[in-house]
């Protein structure tokens, strides 16, 4: 249990405690780089009062790194050289955990929907989609040329 100011944002409370995996960028829950799980669902910590998380389960990228499934996710993201600057990577990973737990990734359209709240300015998304498709056991390709592995 931590004491927080009424006006403190969850993102600041986490980061002030050294949990800096969640990043600050747009401040308006557009970019997704501050994504954490609140009771299992992805939320933007930049727009959530820490007080509203009282009594609920908050999971950050640091905590999810210890989840067994994370090993596979990280291995596939790494092998496919998905991310570049990596500022968005924690947010994508957190969103992925939620989507996989909820069985939300049944086809490629699901990937577009589930990750619609995560921006990446570096990569062009294609490699992210292919990696998530592999993780979710979806067929590769589907018009995404350049698929090599």
């Amino acid at each position: 249990v931590v004491d927080v100011e009424d006006t403190a944002l969850l993102l600041d409370v986490l980061r002030e405690r050294g949990l800096t995996g969640a990043k600050r960028s747009c401040d308006l829950q557009v970019c997704g780089t501050c994504t954490v799980l609140l009771d299992g669902l992805p939320v933007s910590a930049c727009c959530l009062l820490a007080a509203d998380a009282a009594g609920r389960v908050v999971e950050t990228v640091e905590g999810l790194a210890a989840v067994p499934a994370n090993r596979l996710y990280a291995e596939i993201f790494t092998r496919r050289n998905v991310f570049q600057c990596g500022f968005c990577a924690p947010g994508f990973l957190v969103t992925l955990h939620a989507a996989m737990r909820n069985g939300a990734l049944r086809d490629r359209d699901d990937i577009v929907r589930e990750f619609g709240g995560n921006l990446c300015r570096c990569t062009g998304y294609r490699a992210i989609v292919d990696a998530v498709a592999e993780i979710a056991g979806l067929p590769a390709g589907q018009g995404q040329e350049g698929e090599q592995r």
Binding site: C26, G86, G124, R126
Partner: protein, 747 residues
């Protein structure tokens, strides 16, 4: 291919995983805002709400009374030194001094014990402005009686290239390219002559600018910054504060994207000025709202005229280009120079007459953004080529084939000849695009070709160290901004030393220890810094060989270096037994044959297929192809990621991204709610990156830089495709509204 690619041990040419993937995925990678700064005060910047105004008064009484506030700093507090900066033109006050020249200019800074206190206090600072007339359109700034943004004559900055002509007036810098003399009878030619507009854009590196600065009591400066050019930041800080360069130390952690937005100095001068005054470290973490008025892509107006003979041979091109650089020059002159070059187009002309002006306006300053110049002009030149082809009843591909420069031909007078196989690239592009396929109504196909100067300077050095445990570390000043510089440099060093990449690390930059590197931009990290790494690794290898030769008493050529082992007859020495040792190298050999800013030419090629919905004006991008003519792909995965990322940025530039200012010069879409950047749903239907490896680049293993050329290349292709679908385009972005109006206006 007969090179090291066939060698299984080779580290070069393989899609090896990035060195930094693990730390980035776990959240362990430290970006600037993640760093602790013990004892630091937190800074919040107060920005002007007016584009052009006299500052009548600044009242900080209420702000100072907020608990935790340490200081409120204004220009009046920075009078004991020349508190101005600007690398090309020293035209910019650290804090607005008596006058503001753009809405968003830094007027004051609040220092407080916490970020929340600083922000609360900043909102209480009262500034009284007397509004002055503002020029917010570059055309108005060029009008004969226009208000001058600066009434002083321009003063060259520390990095202004020798011989640069700066002049008073809003168009303070011109780059002109003129050659040839076309004597053709008017009835032998056809001509296209149009005016075009290009929008201002926000780079949106996801990590905003951020600095931690400390001014030590001994007068030395220590800066941690999210920047692309730490050595130029060091030089600029030394110049501003009039201290020796070696008294300034700049360190760079992981950088959350750059794309040019973190080139040269940005928030470092104000952060250091605040630290100097506070006597404590200053933590200045920018927000997106800060970044959006810190730097941007130049908006532009252009009139271009292109002439061709009736047989399809191109004859002449002329263009007048006005680059809106905003209130301060930043990198505007360089952007303007490259824009002029890109306007020419890689064809065999009889005559060319380009005049590109860098023009002050009362808008936020514009600087570098990926593919600058090419992004501005290639779509214009290429759509004119297509228009001429259409007038002559020729195929656009055949028209380009007939006019495209070949290797060794001169692109621009006095500059390096064409150093890539453009015709070969064009055929590969046309094939991958399936040029010539039938397309339905409201479908279009387009391709575009161009060249832009890259490399800028051969001033990159590197050091490769071997420690006593056999570990190798690479020290090079190219920043890891996401492009994979450290991974590429690791692979180069590992390849030269024939070691597994896991044995090699690349250190983060600390100007106190890292060898000098001019800058991380202009696609130079692989080609220029990479060559320095290769030479340093070779020097290290030679050093350890010489050490064994000395031990054994044999000439070095009696020894063989094999997979990190030195062999003589049946004896072998391992690297751990030979350290510590060190090799140094540089890329200075690239200065020969270079014509700065072109150490080499970056190929800008792209192709696209689109479908236009005439009822809504919406354009779907069905297929894109980019050509990464990289000479040699050190890591093919990273080449693809660079081009793919560039594709998405070009899609944003083409179809929706635009910074919009009101008539008073105030940014209207000042957040990511109003300024939309491409999301996953904007992904084209199909995406292909053609990697061309002719081993003809000047860099290591024949490599040539990439990652920027696709911007102009694809933007040109997207415009040409939309035009081919039946929609005239003379302004970007091609929003549904604009496309719909263009269709409705015709029918």
């Amino acid at each position: 291919m007969t090179t090291a690619a066939t060698d299984r041990r080779s580290a070069v040419g393989r899609p090896l995983p990035r060195a930094d993937s693990e730390v980035k995925l776990t959240g362990a990678a430290r970006f600037l805002a993640d760093l602790d700064a013990p004892g630091a005060v937190h800074a919040r910047l107060l920005r002007s709400t007016e584009a052009h105004a006299r500052i009548v008064s600044i009242d900080a009484t209420a702000a100072r009374s907020v608990p935790g506030v340490v200081d409120v700093v204004t220009a009046a507090d920075l009078k004991d030194f020349d508190a101005t900066w600007g690398h090309h033109v020293r035209d910019r006050p650290i804090l607005a001094d008596g006058v503001v020249r753009f809405a968003g200019e830094i007027v004051a800074a609040v220092l407080a014990e916490t970020q929340a206190q600083a922000e609360a206090a900043a909102s209480l600072v009262e500034v009284d402005y007397e509004r002055l007339p503002a020029v917010v359109d570059v055309a108005d700034a060029m009008a004969p009686a226009a208000v001058r943004v600066h009434d002083q004559e321009p003063r060259p900055g520390f990095a202004c290239p020798p011989g640069t002509t700066l002049r008073g007036g809003n168009d303070f810098f011109h780059h002109r390219i003129g050659f040839g003399d076309a004597v053709v009878a008017p009835d032998e030619v056809v001509t296209v002559d149009r005016e075009y507009r290009f929008p201002a854009l926000y780079q949106f590196a996801m990590e905003p600018h951020a600095v931690i600065a400390d001014w030590h009591r001994d007068g030395s400066v220590h800066v941690l910054s999210s920047c692309q050019h730490p050595f130029l930041v060091r030089a600029e800080l030394a110049a501003i504060f009039d201290i020796p360069t070696e008294r300034v130390r700049v360190e760079v952690p992981f950088v959350g994207g750059g794309f040019g937005s973190k080139s040269y100095s940005k928030l470092e001068p104000v952060a250091v000025a605040l630290a100097r005054r506070a006597g404590r470290p200053v933590r200045l973490i920018g927000r997106v709202e800060d970044a959006m008025v810190t730097t941007r892509r130049h908006g532009m107006r252009c009139r271009m005229r292109t002439t061709a003979r009736r047989d399809g041979r191109l004859v002449a091109r002329s263009a007048e280009i006005w680059m809106d650089t905003g209130a301060y020059a930043d990198n505007g002159p360089t952007v303007t120079t490259v824009a002029a070059m890109a306007a020419v187009g890689p064809y065999r002309w009889h005559s060319v007459d380009i005049d590109a002006a860098c023009v002050y306006t009362h808008l936020p300053p514009a600087g570098s953004y990926r593919g600058f110049g090419g992004a501005h002009l290639q779509w214009i030149g290429e759509s004119q080529v297509d228009e001429l082809a259409g007038m002559l009843g020729l195929d656009g591909l055949r028209m380009r084939r007939a006019n495209l420069l070949r290797r060794g031909e001169r692109f621009l007078p006095g500059m390096r000849p064409v150093d890539a196989d453009l015709p070969g690239d064009l055929e590969a592009l046309a094939g991958a695009l399936r040029w010539g396929e039938d397309r339905g109504r409201w479908q279009g196909v387009g391709l575009s070709v161009g060249l832009t100067p890259a490399g800028v300077s051969a001033d990159s050095r590197a050091r490769v160290e071997l420690d006593g445990l056999g570990r190798v570390s690479v020290h090079v000043g190219s920043q890891e901004i996401g492009q994979g510089a450290r991974s590429v440099h690791r692979q180069i060093a590992a390849d030269v030393l024939q070691l597994p990449v896991e044995r090699v690390t690349v250190a983060a930059t600390d100007t106190a220890h890292t060898p000098y590197d001019r800058s991380t931009g202009a696609s130079r990290s692989t080609t220029v810094a990479g060559l320095a790494v290769m030479r340093a690794a070779q020097a290290l290898r030679d050093t350890v060989i010489a050490r064994v030769a000395g031990l054994v008493g044999v000439p070095v050529d009696a020894l063989e270096y094999r997979a990190g082992r030195i062999v003589h007859d049946d004896r072998g020495w391992e690297l751990p037994d030979l350290g510590p040792a060190c090799g140094e190298g540089s890329a200075h050999e690239l200065a020969a044959g270079a014509t700065p800013p072109a150490l080499f030419w970056e190929v800008c090629m792209g192709g696209a297929k689109v479908t236009v919905d005439p009822r809504t004006g919406r354009v779907d991008v069905d297929r894109v192809v980019t050509v990464a003519d990289v000479g040699r792909a050190i890591n093919p995965d990273l080449v693809e990621r660079q081009d793919e990322g560039c594709v998405m940025q070009a899609v944003g530039n083409a179809f929706f991204e635009e910074l919009k200012f009101d008539e008073n010069g105030v940014l209207l879409n000042d957040s990511l709610l109003g300024y939309r950047v491409p999301a996953l749903s904007d992904l084209p239907g199909a995406m292909r990156c053609l990697i061309v490896e002719n081993e003809d680049g000047p860099g290591p293993f024949g490599a040539r830089g990439c990652g920027e050329g696709a911007f102009g290349g694809l933007l040109g292709a997207l415009v040409c495709a939309v035009v081919d679908a039946g929609v005239p385009v003379t302004a970007l972005p091609m929003t549904p509204d604009r496309v719909w109006r263009a269709i409705a206006g015709r029918s």
